[in-house]
């Protein structure tokens, strides 16, 4: 194996990485959402959405409607929450929302920040769920929550790159 071949392989790898990144950021621009595709992490919307289901988001709507399933972040915390809009109050300037998980007995007041009584559509909402694909996101849950799976997968990728390199 010579240097040129190895550099070529590195280039291919970079190419795959950058195109994935460009796709993600492009989708962000189109949907106006910082995270246009999310994986469901909790069971609070069962039986509609289970852990590992993939949701497609859209954030170019001016206002949310009651009954919409939205993804929101409280205080820009890292964990996005997928719940349904229970109430909306709007005027020309802004819209306030109260949300609730289908599978939760009470509304989300307890999940909001201290002293926060409503979500602000413009500030807190990451997007409205419009598309659904079951289960495929479970891989990401496995990777983040199960270290054996994570290192196993990394090992497999390393192994396969070694094998394909020898051809």
């Amino acid at each position: 194996m010579n240097l040129r071949q190895q550099l070529q392989q590195l280039l291919t790898l970079l190419y795959v990485g950058t195109s994935a990144y460009m796709f993600w950021k492009g989708l962000s621009v189109v949907t106006n959402s910082s995270s246009p595709i999310v994986v469901v992490l909790s069971g609070s919307m069962e039986p509609a959405f289970h852990r590992g289901d993939v949701l497609l988001l859209w954030n170019r709507n001016e206002r949310s409607r009651v009954g919409d399933v939205v993804v929101y972040e409280v205080n820009q915390k890292a964990i996005p929450i997928v719940h349904r809009v229970l109430r909306e109050h709007h005027n020309d300037k802004k819209q306030l929302l109260l949300t609730k998980g289908d599978n939760n007995p009470v509304d989300d007041l307890g999940l909001y920040a201290r002293g926060q009584n409503y979500l602000n559509k413009d500030k807190d909402i990451v997007g409205t769920v419009y598309g659904y694909f079951p289960f495929v996101g479970y891989v990401t849950i496995l990777i983040t929550e199960n270290q054996y799976f994570k290192y196993g997968l990394l090992g497999l990728i390393a192994l396969s790159s070694l094998i394909s390199g020898e051809e």
Partner: protein, 200 residues
């Protein structure tokens, strides 16, 4: 020359493409089926809506700093056959009773949910409710929202097995006026009356 890795990759690529095409077909077909079954024009009858107002002071009822917060609930009768919302791509339908009413300032509007239900089977989709109580005690952004006229409707949202979430509303609607909560004395008298009834 073929290798196992290459072959595996081809099979995987093919499978992913096929699943994608199939999903799109299923999503499109379910929309067409809904359209055909008249799902966007479903009749419903909402009647006997009777709202009751109370004054609450806890955060769970929207009060901030233990200030008095007007809440209201309602009871209602409902008749709606939602079976046309079910087809091969319907995992569940979320049905909810909403009330829409104007706000205090010009151009402001509010919509709140009083009652909702998850229906996962076609067999349970024909709803007949008598004197059903609202699930939620509702408060407004303002401290009080008495005497406002609200339009009560039944709406639905379909969660699919795969594809697009579709929502709509049934045709039935009814107007109500939010009542004034009883004063402290009236509420106390009401409580006494109930207690006496219980004793008898």
């Amino acid at each position: 020359m073929f290798s196992i890795v290459q072959r595996g990759q081809h099979v995987l690529n093919h499978a992913v493409t096929l699943i994608g095409i199939l999903s799109v077909f299923i999503a499109l077909s379910s929309y067409a089926l809904l359209q055909q079954g008249g799902a966007f024009n479903l009749p419903s009858t909402i009647s006997g809506v009777s709202p009751q107002a109370t004054v609450r002071m806890s955060r769970r009822f929207g009060s901030v700093g233990s200030k008095e917060k007007e809440n209201n609930k309602l009871t209602f009768d409902l008749q709606a056959d939602l079976t046309p919302l079910f087809n091969w791509n319907t995992k569940q339908i979320f049905v909810y009773l909403t009330a829409e009413y104007p706000g205090k300032s010009e151009g402001s509007s509010n919509k709140v949910t009083y009652w909702d239900k998850i229906i996962t089977s076609k067999d349970n989709a024909n709803l007949t409710l008598q004197n059903e109580k609202s699930k939620y005690s509702v408060w407004d952004v303002e401290d009080t929202f008495r005497n406002r006229e609200a339009t009560v409707k039944l709406e639905w949202d379909i969660q699919p097995y795969v594809g697009i979430l579709i929502s709509g509303e049934t045709t039935g609607e009814v107007d109500v006026v939010f009542p004034t909560p009883p004063t402290g004395e009236e509420a106390r008298a009401e409580k006494m009356k109930k207690r006496q009834q219980k004793q008898h």
